[in-house]
């Protein structure tokens, strides 16, 4: 008999009978009234199914329901997180500067906007599309480069010097 087969009320089992040793096998089935309280696709214990099997079916059904809820929550969580990818930047779209060594940037994408960033120097660009975000990042990199490199080195603190060092490794002046 299939588990999902509904049994007409008239064919229902007298559960008290199930407490008796079951005929040919001689094994005793344990019946628990709580089984009937659990939400399940089965309106009553299918005919011919041992009480302990029925109990397992109810437990499996409850486990499946819980798993299904957990999968739904995980799916929601995943969909709300930005999609992260890594891109190599090989051009700054500027007449004065060029890329001497490819810059590895991180692109994060949500339904509403995109963020492109160069983590080593804390430069970023935001846009409604990936290309717009990268375009803004390039502008931000140029601003940062010209801002720091135009200052006297003696006036730069440790973080600014480190940022300038990283930038000079990747960016060169066009000849």
């Amino acid at each position: 008999m299939l588990f999902d087969e509904k049994v007409p009320a008239t064919q229902g089992i007298d559960f008290n009978m199930r407490l008796q040793p079951s005929g040919s096998t001689g094994t005793a089935s344990v019946y628990d009234d709580r089984m009937l309280d659990q939400p399940t696709g089965w309106s009553r214990m299918p005919f011919g199914v041992e009480a302990n099997i029925y109990s397992m079916m109810l437990q499996l059904s409850a486990d499946l329901k819980q798993l299904s809820e957990e999968v739904r929550l995980l799916k929601e969580e995943l969909l709300s997180r930005p999609l992260v990818s890594s891109v190599l930047l090989n051009d700054l779209s500027d007449a004065r500067l060029e890329i001497a060594k490819s810059i590895s940037i991180i692109v994060e994408e949500t339904d509403e906007e995109c963020l492109a960033r160069w983590p080593e120097v804390n430069a970023f660009g935001i846009g409604s599309t990936i290309s717009e975000a990268i375009c803004n990042l390039k502008e931000n990199i140029l601003d940062l480069y010209f801002d720091i490199s135009s200052r006297e080195k003696e006036t730069l603190g440790e973080i600014a010097l480190e940022t300038l060092g990283v930038m000079e490794t990747h960016i060169g002046v066009k000849k």
Binding site: E113, R117, L156, G157, E158
Partner: protein
């Protein structure tokens, strides 16, 4: 970051004041220069306040937070008040020391 629920006005006023930002300039977004011991360290990004105190998108918030070299909870503390300017300075000094090791 989205759960931080910080608004643009609070970020701009508290970060500018506590970090004593210099040369604050506007545009698509706002920037200010952070100095430690009289030396320029980095440029801080803040959202543009366009006549409102609207919530900021998670990615914008992340960009603003990264610009001050703080974690999400530290940034929330900075904007919402528990973290004072001196506390921030102490954190940055610790970070500079750990980077140079």
């Amino acid at each position: 970051m989205s759960s931080l629920n910080l608004n643009a006005n609070d970020i701009v006023s508290n970060v500018t004041k506590k970090l004593n930002l210099q040369n604050v300039r506007g545009g698509r977004d706002q920037h200010g220069d952070y100095y430690l011991d009289g030396k320029y360290q980095f440029s801080v990004t803040m959202p543009n306040v366009h006549g409102g105190s609207g919530a900021i998108s998670p990615l914008w918030l992340k960009a603003c937070r990264d610009s001050v070299r703080l974690t999400s909870s530290e940034y929330a503390d900075l904007v919402r008040c528990p973290m004072k300017g001196e506390d921030y300075e102490k954190l940055i000094r610790e970070r500079i020391t750990s980077r140079s090791r």
